[in-house]
Symmetry: D2
Subunit: 294 residues, 4 copies
Amino acid sequence: MATCNANPVSLSCNITNVATPSSPLYSKTYRDASVIHLPYNISISENTLAVIAGPCSIESEEQIMATAEFVKKSGAAILRGGAFKPRTSPYSFQGMGIAGLQLLRKAGDYYRMPIITEVLDSEDITIVADYADILQVGARNCQNFSLLRKLGKIRKPVLLKRGMMVTIKEFLMAAEYILAEGNENVILCERGIRTFETETRNTLDISAVPVLKQKTHLPVIVDPSHAAGNWKLIHPLALAALAAGADGLMIECHIKPESALCDGEQSLRPDKFALLMNDIHKMNTLLNKKLECI
Amino acid sequence: MATCNANPVSLSCNITNVATPSSPLYSKTYRDASVIHLPYNISISENTLAVIAGPCSIESEEQIMATAEFVKKSGAAILRGGAFKPRTSPYSFQGMGIAGLQLLRKAGDYYRMPIITEVLDSEDITIVADYADILQVGARNCQNFSLLRKLGKIRKPVLLKRGMMVTIKEFLMAAEYILAEGNENVILCERGIRTFETETRNTLDISAVPVLKQKTHLPVIVDPSHAAGNWKLIHPLALAALAAGADGLMIECHIKPESALCDGEQSLRPDKFALLMNDIHKMNTLLNKKLECI
Amino acid sequence: MATCNANPVSLSCNITNVATPSSPLYSKTYRDASVIHLPYNISISENTLAVIAGPCSIESEEQIMATAEFVKKSGAAILRGGAFKPRTSPYSFQGMGIAGLQLLRKAGDYYRMPIITEVLDSEDITIVADYADILQVGARNCQNFSLLRKLGKIRKPVLLKRGMMVTIKEFLMAAEYILAEGNENVILCERGIRTFETETRNTLDISAVPVLKQKTHLPVIVDPSHAAGNWKLIHPLALAALAAGADGLMIECHIKPESALCDGEQSLRPDKFALLMNDIHKMNTLLNKKLECI
Amino acid sequence: MATCNANPVSLSCNITNVATPSSPLYSKTYRDASVIHLPYNISISENTLAVIAGPCSIESEEQIMATAEFVKKSGAAILRGGAFKPRTSPYSFQGMGIAGLQLLRKAGDYYRMPIITEVLDSEDITIVADYADILQVGARNCQNFSLLRKLGKIRKPVLLKRGMMVTIKEFLMAAEYILAEGNENVILCERGIRTFETETRNTLDISAVPVLKQKTHLPVIVDPSHAAGNWKLIHPLALAALAAGADGLMIECHIKPESALCDGEQSLRPDKFALLMNDIHKMNTLLNKKLECI
C-alpha cells in the first residue's frame, strides 16, 4: 500500500482519492469469511462460537486461577483479564502491569486456554505480544491510528473494540489501519455506544452485528458486560447477540464480584455464568454453530 | 387519582411530591405480569408470543386483503396497517383515513385477526376505537400527554411506542399517564432510539427489553422494522428481540415493497416473512413460549 | 396547496412526490425575512431583539403580577407563563389551566406586554387563542402533526419549539405543517437537544441558530433556560445566542425560584435578570439590533 | 477494601479513593485561574483572548508562510498546522511529518508567533516538543491515557481537545492525567460532540464553556471549525464562543480552501478571516478582554 508520509502530491494521497479505495481489505469483495486460528485448536469464525470469559482486571494469582477454572469448566474457550487498565481517573486502579500478564499466561497454560489482554500504548506492544494470544484494543483507543498501525505490523490476532461514538463505517476503517499494514487477524467487537439513555452504561448496538456481518469477512463478537454495565442484563443480551449472528461473546466473570477492583457490578458469578453457558449451548444447536471448547 | 388541574396548593401536586409516587401503577410491586386479552382468543403476555404484521399504510382493499392472507398463513396473530400516518413532510402521503380503517377492519374480520392502527389526535380516538382492537400511539406522540390521558379513559388496549429520544424512565411515566386514568391494557413497544449511527434508521435499544421486563408487569414487544429501516436487518433483529425476552414482534410486510406508498425499503416480502416465521417457531420452542395464532 | 386527506392516488400524494416540494414555504427562496407583528407595537424579526420572560408556570395572581413587573422594568418585551404544563409524570403539577390563562392575560394587559403560553392539545386551541397573543408548541409536541395542522388554520403567531430529538430538517418540515395551512406567523425556538452529556439538562445546539437563519425567513429565538436546566448558565448562553444571530430570547424568571412549583432551578431571580438585560443591551448595540420594549 | 497492591505500589491508588480525590488538581479549590505563558509574550488566560489560526495540514512552505502572513496581519496570535494527521481512513493524506514540523517552526519564527501542532503517539512526543510551543492532543486521543501521562512529564503546554464522546466530567479527568504527572500547562478545547444532528459535522457544546469555567482554573478555548465542518458557520460560532466566556479560539484558515488536502470546506479564506477578526475586536472590547497579538 502506498503511504503518504511527507508528500502531498503523491497520487495515492491526492485529495480526489481521499475516501476508501473501491475495495477495502475488510470488505466481502476481498474475502468471504475469515477464520482466526488460536492455540489449543480454538478458532473464531462464522462457523464456530467462541466464548471469551474472565475478570475485568487480574488481581492476584488465586483470583485468576480460580476464575480460569470455573469459566473453563462451564465451557468458555478463551481467558480474558486486564493487566493494563484504561481508567477515567488517574487515581483509580490502573492494573497489575507485567506481573498481571505473567499470571494470565500461567492460568492460560494451566487450563489450556488462549489468553487475551488489552494493550494501551504502542510502546507496550512487544511485551504484551510476548504473553498474549490475542491483543485487545479498547474502545477509547479505537481511533488511536498510531497504535492500530503498529498492531498491523505484528502477526498475532487483534481484537478491536468499537469506540463509544465510532460509527460502523469508521469502525471498519479503523480495522483497515491494521489490515493495511499486513495483519489479517482482526476480530471486531461491538460493546455498546454512547447515547442519552442512562439505564445502561452504554447502549448495545445489536444492529451493528448483522450490519457488520453483511459488510465484512472479519469475525464479529459482542461484549454485553461493558454495554450493559449491569450483570442482570448480561444473560438476555448474550443470547440476543447470538440470535443476531455474533460469532462469539466476551463476558466478564469474577469469583466474588462484590470485592472486584474494577467493574464488579457487571461481572457474573460462577453459578450465573454456568446458567448462561447452558442456554448458549441450547441456542447454538438452533443456530447450527460449533461451540469452541476443549 | 387526584388531579392538579387548577390548584397549585392541592396536596397531590405539592412540589415535594413532584416525582413519581413510591409505587407507580406500571411497577412490579403493583402486579407481577399483565395479560392483554384480544378477540379471537389471542393474548399478549409473558407466556405467549404474538406477532403483529402488516403494511406500513393501508393503500387499497386488494393490498390489505392480500397482505392479511399471507401474514396469517405464515403464523402472524394480529394485523397492522396505518390509516392516519404521521409524516415528517406535510406533502407526503398522509394515509387513507377512515376509508383505511374500514378496509383494515374488513381484512381483520375476514381473516379472523385482531387489528391495530395508529391514532394521531385525541379528537380521533372515538372513531379509531370504533374500528380497531388495539390503538397505537406513535413514537412522535410518546409524550403527547393530552392524548395519553384520553386513551386512559377508554378500555381498549393501547400499544405505546417509545419515542426516539425518550428514556426508559420517561417511557414508563408515559405509560403511567394511561394507567393512571384507569386503562390497564397497555403494551410497550421498543422501536429504536436516535443516536449518531446512520447505518440504521434508528438504533434498536435491545437492552430496553430486559430492563423493561425487570421494571414493569406490562408486556413488551419490539418493532425491528422501524428500528432498522432496512428489510435485510429485520430477520436477525427479530430473533434477537425474542432472545432478549420480548413478548411479541411488530413486523412491516408488503406484497410488493418496491411500490409501497410508505416505508417500502423496510418491509418484508411474503417469502422472507415466511422464512422469518419459521425461525421464530424454532426459537419459541427454545424459549418455552406459546406462539399465538389461530 | 393540495392535501392528501384520504386518497392515495391523488397526484400530490404520489410516492414519487414524497419529499418536500422544491420550494417549501419556510425557505429563503419564498421570502427573505418574516416580521411577526404583536400587540403594543412589538415585533419579532431579524432587525429587532425581543426578550420573552416570565415563570415556567403561572402559580398565583401575586406571582404573575410581580414577575411581569420586574421583567418589564428590566426590559423584557413579552410575558410568558405556563397554564397547561406537559410533565413527565402524571403526578407532577400540571398547571392552573384556564384560571392561569386569565391571570396571564390580566398581567399582560396591566403591564402592556404581549403574552405567550403553551397549547397542549388541539381541543384547547380555541380557548388558548382567546387569551394568548402567541401560542407555544412545546418540544414534546414538535412533531404532533395533527396539532400543527390545526394551528395552521388560525392566524395568531405560533412559537414552535424544537423537539429534543428533532433534526433541523425535521424542525423546518414541522414548521411547514403550520405554514402549509395558511398561518404565516411562525417563530422557531431552539431549546436544546438530547445528547449523552449530563452536566446540562439538554445540549443547546447553538449552531442551529446560524443554520436556521441561512435556510429560512422565519425568526429564530433561543431558550437557554430549558437547554441548560441551571440558572448559572443562562447569562453566558443568552449572550452566546445573540452573538450567534438569534432574533430573540425566552428566559425563565421567578420572584422566588426556591419555591417555584416547576423548574425553579433554571429560573433567574429579579436581580440576575436585570444584570442579564444590562449585558443584552450592550451586546445589542454591537449587533445593530433594536431592542423591543415599550 | 483491597488496595492496588500489585500495581506500582503508590498510595494514590487505594480503591477507597477510586473516584476523584476530594480536590482534584483541575479544580477551582486548587487554584483560581491559570495563565499559560508562551513565547513572544503571548499568554492564554481568562484576562486575554488568544486566537490560534492556520491550516488543517501543513502542505508546503509556500502555503504555511502565506497563511502565517495573513493570519498574523489580521490579528491571530498563535499559528497552527498539522504535521501528523489522524485520518479516519488509512488511505487519506496523513500529513508531512517531521518536514511539516520544520516548516511550521520556520513560519512561526519568521512571523514571531508561537506554534501549535498535534502529537499522535507517545513515541513522537520528544520530536514534536523539539519544534512546537504547544502540543495538541486530538479529540480521538482525549482518553489515550498513556499519551496523556507522558505529556504530563514534559513542561511544554498541552492543548487537550475534548473527545466527541467524552463528557465534561471525563474531559476534566483526562486533563487530570496530565496535571497529576506535574505538567500544569493544560489548555482545554471544546470542539463539538457527536449527536444525531447531521447539518453540522459535530454539535458545538457551547454550554461546556461556562460549565468548564465554573469547574476549573484551566483556560478554555473553542474550535468552531471542527465543530461546524462548514466555513459559513464559523463566524457566528466564534462570536458565540467568546460571548459564552471562551478564553480563545482555534480557527482553520487556508489561502485556497478549494485545493486544501484536508478539511477545505471548513477553512476560512483570508478575507473572511479578516472580517471575523474585526468582529472579534469589537466583541472583545465589550467583554473587557485583552486581545493577544504582537
